[in-house]
Assembly symmetry: D2
Amino acid sequence: MTTPAHPIRVAVIAATGYGGIELLRWLTAHPAVEIVAVSSESSAGQPLTAVYPHLAGLEMALLPAAEARFHGEPQVVFFATPNGTAMQLAPAVLARGGKVIDLSADFRLKDPAVYAAYYGRAHGATDWLARAVYGLPELDREALRGAALVANPGCYPTAALLALAPLLRAGLIAPRGIIIDSKSGVSGAGRTALQTPYLYAEANEDVSAYTVGAHRHQPEIEQQLTAAGGEEAVITFTPHLIPMTRGIFTTAYGPLTRACATDEVLAIYRDAYAGSPFVTVLDATTLPHTKWCAGSNRAFVTARVDARAGRVVALAAIDNLGKGMSGQAVQNMNLLCGLDEATGLERPAVYP
Amino acid sequence: MTTPAHPIRVAVIAATGYGGIELLRWLTAHPAVEIVAVSSESSAGQPLTAVYPHLAGLEMALLPAAEARFHGEPQVVFFATPNGTAMQLAPAVLARGGKVIDLSADFRLKDPAVYAAYYGRAHGATDWLARAVYGLPELDREALRGAALVANPGCYPTAALLALAPLLRAGLIAPRGIIIDSKSGVSGAGRTALQTPYLYAEANEDVSAYTVGAHRHQPEIEQQLTAAGGEEAVITFTPHLIPMTRGIFTTAYGPLTRACATDEVLAIYRDAYAGSPFVTVLDATTLPHTKWCAGSNRAFVTARVDARAGRVVALAAIDNLGKGMSGQAVQNMNLLCGLDEATGLERPAVYP
Amino acid sequence: MTTPAHPIRVAVIAATGYGGIELLRWLTAHPAVEIVAVSSESSAGQPLTAVYPHLAGLEMALLPAAEARFHGEPQVVFFATPNGTAMQLAPAVLARGGKVIDLSADFRLKDPAVYAAYYGRAHGATDWLARAVYGLPELDREALRGAALVANPGCYPTAALLALAPLLRAGLIAPRGIIIDSKSGVSGAGRTALQTPYLYAEANEDVSAYTVGAHRHQPEIEQQLTAAGGEEAVITFTPHLIPMTRGIFTTAYGPLTRACATDEVLAIYRDAYAGSPFVTVLDATTLPHTKWCAGSNRAFVTARVDARAGRVVALAAIDNLGKGMSGQAVQNMNLLCGLDEATGLERPAVYP
Amino acid sequence: MTTPAHPIRVAVIAATGYGGIELLRWLTAHPAVEIVAVSSESSAGQPLTAVYPHLAGLEMALLPAAEARFHGEPQVVFFATPNGTAMQLAPAVLARGGKVIDLSADFRLKDPAVYAAYYGRAHGATDWLARAVYGLPELDREALRGAALVANPGCYPTAALLALAPLLRAGLIAPRGIIIDSKSGVSGAGRTALQTPYLYAEANEDVSAYTVGAHRHQPEIEQQLTAAGGEEAVITFTPHLIPMTRGIFTTAYGPLTRACATDEVLAIYRDAYAGSPFVTVLDATTLPHTKWCAGSNRAFVTARVDARAGRVVALAAIDNLGKGMSGQAVQNMNLLCGLDEATGLERPAVYP
């Protein structure tokens, strides 16, 4: 494998969270990237492999975030930080001409008031918020080419939007009356969530809904569905925690605006994702599985029409840490840097 | 523990399936029951403990079903058989005055044409079908007292009906536009389902929907919701397989017929389940968990109103083999035999 | 189910840990017991069902331990407390004539110096330590009848001793050269162990050994094997954490003192456990499974002779929270109180 | 990523088993490989993606094995076939000058009588058996360079040999008295093993030993340990099935031939694996985890001396489908074809 004469220098801020190490997994295998800095506040000063022996071979010292963002003059800085950090640390990177891909929620919600309401703090970088591009390439990859700041989508929004946006754009479903029922693996809670519900003995053999009607991804999904359909979307969104590590499965229910058959819905998907290397539209005989996505950047999408009820059931499966987070961030980096969108990302799932 | 002078003699047909051994688990600890016969076609002639060493202490020989149903003159015969068997073997039991609790689908659907359409065979005992009582005690326990033949509900219907029937009865939700999104553990497929999707390496770390729009429990749910609401119910039902052994979690979405608050919905539940020892209505701060039901006959129910969308989100958790199957069957036996409904069933979940 | 005219009044100290709620599960179904007090330091003042909704029906207020141990004049006080607590709180109970069953390690190691070395504190009740009886009924149930203070065995020791003690007693294996390789579910870490390795996303799909050569159960096993064989036992003990909630599987390797066949070993087991209702000796064609024990007080034991290597492979499976902890504690209570050893404990595993 | 002007043409026989799709995962990302043929007997004629939608992008038709081994003139043919197939189909490939890497057991055991005893059939290609090279590069990579036929090691032997061979070579442990206690994920049973014990509901929350004293990998391990130590090795080997999909964790116990400290053992490992890119020797403070290997070709090895017992505890973790099977097969291909051993294999584990 040859590397380009001048690989892209990247830094990963908060490299020891699940988003961070997943980024490292993709970036170390990327043919056009050089990782120049990795950060961790809690383990600053230690070698990365002291925290994660499985990264044997990636011998780098962990720096504090404030230092890592400039160390080695990175051209792209990934923020896999808790909410509230990127808005503080990213502007200086951007001011120096660096590109920023933020995996947190800091730049996703266009309305600072909505951000404040859902995230409990005033937004600290509203100027950059206005310039941030929402990074779901399948819905608007042109906006990403040459962008400076990308708001990498949330995991739930990624699956929901891939399933619903094309149908709203096509006018096939109404923007009000949409229900999104999502099932997520536990890794979505992150590695620092030392709380009882995330203990193995509690989460294993258990399913539950959580934050019913109040999840932070709800306004994000509505914002993007509104953009897709051109009319205000109002959704009911129910996230569930299920006993597995990776994966999100979304079952979305949309009211049809007119009678149509399953094949017509699938044709809309195929048309929408014709140029998208990471979305597989399944036919009327096959339903998605999260296992098909594990460790990959792929999404599987399909739908079935319930003619009796006048409704479409749209289904999507992703790896919440792959297409739902770090794989998508690398996909966005490729677009920002003028590379082929799929560079370094063409790996099938680890199955079984 | 004293046993009554004359315990109820029971037989378990198909005792070596998951429904069967779960029945045995409940019945061996029941203070008023004597198990007089157990059957298995594939293991007839063997001792039960040769198939299930964990039942050490329950030393009985497995008989063929046709023989076991009469062996020891059982007063109650449980059929934990594949669909199509009880309709053949139960009438003779009933004719002799025995009571039958059928855990299969044979006597659940009142319309033989619907049965034929969904189960692929003509119904072979339509006279008894007309006399069968649908055995969800929380919705109509009076009909069960003294009944001869009980159609024990399906696992999905049990959870869905507990969440939705009181709201339909109260006229709070409309019978059309209901969506039922259910998540089930893998034991629902049974022990004889030697198929690739049920292998550990395939089902682990995987979620998927299946039989979207075509599951056999859909007409059963609609039949009972129609009965509850007095108007034809049309539902969209999506079952999912998730990586756990036991448990069903149902998230149901119903269109409100008028504005109301969450507390009002909860009050309806509390009223409906005031005399039901196995349904716990959770308040507005607590959401159900399937782990709370594991190995028990308990159901947890709650709801949240989504005022923006004019919809109620109703949630229920059960053990698919407990309240969703064999625990409920024993509850029905208690009612049939004039015992206190909770006899032998008051055990908390095995947690964690 | 009739309760005796005068049920045994019991208190459960630390009722909200995994050992505690497992005790409650057994005790609520015990025909001769009345639970008069339950304690929790962290949730004192709250109702028990606020912490554990699955215990619906068991409406009791949580008291501080120091109060609960006397509240309602319990005749038996179970300490499911962290190590170091029972030695402080139990003596006053004992002084008043109450019986104590300690599920912690406080009274297991007869030598206070070994306790201090392994548990990092001086023993605070050495007088009671001398009078405590090690509570593995299958090895010495006579010592338990009428005892005042029981040291309930550790989970690993329970499985290891059931597999090995009869063979040492029979002189079939040598006390030096024994290797014990154990595999435990994650619930053994308890509910308050909010540490990264016990998070679902970390423990799932992972196996590892831990505290190799340094586990606290090693001196406990050696003490009891020494007692069984009459000669100092020296073992190599390796505990492993495996991705399941409940269960311990122990594979022990013992050097044969003379040539013998598998059947002879099994005969020794059968003889040793002839009067023990909770130990099932499996024959030469069947190997134990932890699933056969889940939620029950049963142990499965068997062995195979490796003639080429001059070694016996002894295998045991238990539920770490059942026979390995709370089930065994109730079994000990039965013996202490003159009840049949099996009272309230005769339930098969929850399978699957 | 540039591909060489003349990539190596490879065929995968039995591409739809777990070994086969894992090979495809590695080979599609290998920079010097072109997959020219894939086979499946049961799905011959179908596209590969009809069987495995997650391989979207790898559009190839499945051929019968007899045809696929020559289709497209492969230079290397991988046999991921059931035992007994490669010995029939491989000789013709070898006769034409193709190289063969056999992932089955057909060419592992040098003594045809031992093969017959353990695999229940006479060996059908004893001439090639004599010429086959056992493919564990870390123990003898020179023998692999330029070899024509490689017997890819079994999963258990890989972990056991990595942990034990260097210690035997160094004369630190005696070749008799070794105990190997291994814990494997369920994927080792393969995808076509439609048997009750491999069902999710049976394997989940269960641990058991199996084929105690009779596993087919025992003579393979003994053969290679004998080769390593120069003296006949006699082992006791106990495989266990644990509830996870991927991974093998091996805990081996070896009698020390002389007193030594843990650090000395680790130094022997470090020396043995100095030139081995895929073996990480962990220091005295860190124990291996299978999760660190998931989806990778890496092995983690360490040891602890139990001075009291005069024994070393050697521990190894691998992915049974990675270093234990298909990753190792690709590593062998690299050596056979004169590539750098690590080509296409340098990916960290998918964590968590």
